[in-house]
Amino acid sequence: MIEGISIYEILSLTTILFFIGVYGFITRKNLISILISSELILNASIVNFVVINKYIYPDMLQGVFVSIFIIAVAAAETALAVSIIINLYRQISSVEVKDTEIMKY
């Protein structure tokens, strides 16, 4: 644990990060920007898992494992989302949300 920093301060930081991600997720109009916002949200949750593990259950490692799995799932999700975006750009020449109306060609 960090000397002189309580768990409340770190949880406040991750809360602020999470809601900045939510703000971006709603206001952005571009698919890649929405992907960036979702990465912010995922990162806030990873830090939460790790910090609660370290401060409240320091002799266990469950939070570390869960955050490793979240990182792996986020990597898979980003790879798939980027491939979908590139395919979409090839077909309709745009990555704006308002132009993506058809799910399947």
């Binding site: 602020i16 109009k29 370290k54 469950q62 570390v64 990597a75 898979a76 798939l80 491939s83």
Partner: protein, 197 residues
């Protein structure tokens, strides 16, 4: 009163960690706001990179070095590079992003602030049972826990995650390739035969 020769040094490093945390936290919040409000695509991705490095430095501060290394390699090394690639493939760099209407942005900001307020009140009113025992975790402990068959071991999710990564890799290749693999092969075969004839 003799406090020992290291007393002054220890006190300095303790307060130093505190200041480093505050600097990192401020940096993360500023860059996160810049990342969701910048109108240039590539800059937005680079600001996200700084937030990810801030998360890794928090992992370093709370003494999980292995997790910080994973964060730096997978996120900063893999995901951000992938995003930069997609931005460069898809976008004109000089293009300004279209923003939402001002009224919608203000409404969303107010809703987010209300959300932050509610969650912060909840967190600060809950009494966390912090133990305060400083422990260090080695990479070997994480490895044995991840591959252990006993109760509390994570071997099954570990294997499931490996299958998921394989499936995501194959799916990404097939989706990004565009058309079906069979048709492409068949057409190229036909072309080869035409050339021969």
């Amino acid at each position: 009163m003799n406090l020992g020769p290291n007393y002054n040094l220890e006190w300095k490093t303790k307060s130093m960690e505190r200041y480093i945390f505050y600097i990192v936290a401020l940096m993360m919040i500023v860059f996160a706001i810049a990342s969701v409000s910048s109108r240039k695509m590539l800059r937005s991705v680079i600001y996200l990179l700084f937030v990810l490095i801030g998360v890794a430095s928090i992992f370093f501060l709370i003494d999980y070095n292995f997790l910080a290394a994973i964060q730096l390699t997978v996120y900063a090394g893999g995901i951000v590079v992938l995003m930069i690639f997609s931005v460069l493939l898809v976008h004109h760099i000089e293009m300004q992003l279209e923003m939402a209407k001002v009224s919608k942005r203000i409404l969303t900001a107010i809703a987010s602030l209300i959300g932050i307020a509610v969650v912060l009140v909840t967190i600060h009113s809950y009494d966390f049972k912090v133990t305060g025992i400083p422990t260090t975790t080695t990479t070997a402990q994480i490895g044995t826990g991840l591959l252990s068959y006993e109760a509390g071991g994570f071997i099954l999710p570990f294997e499931v995650i490996s299958v998921l990564l394989l499936a995501a890799m194959i799916g990404a290749i097939i989706i990004a390739k565009g058309k079906k693999l069979d048709e492409g092969n068949w057409e190229s075969e036909v072309e080869k035969q035409n050339i021969k004839e």
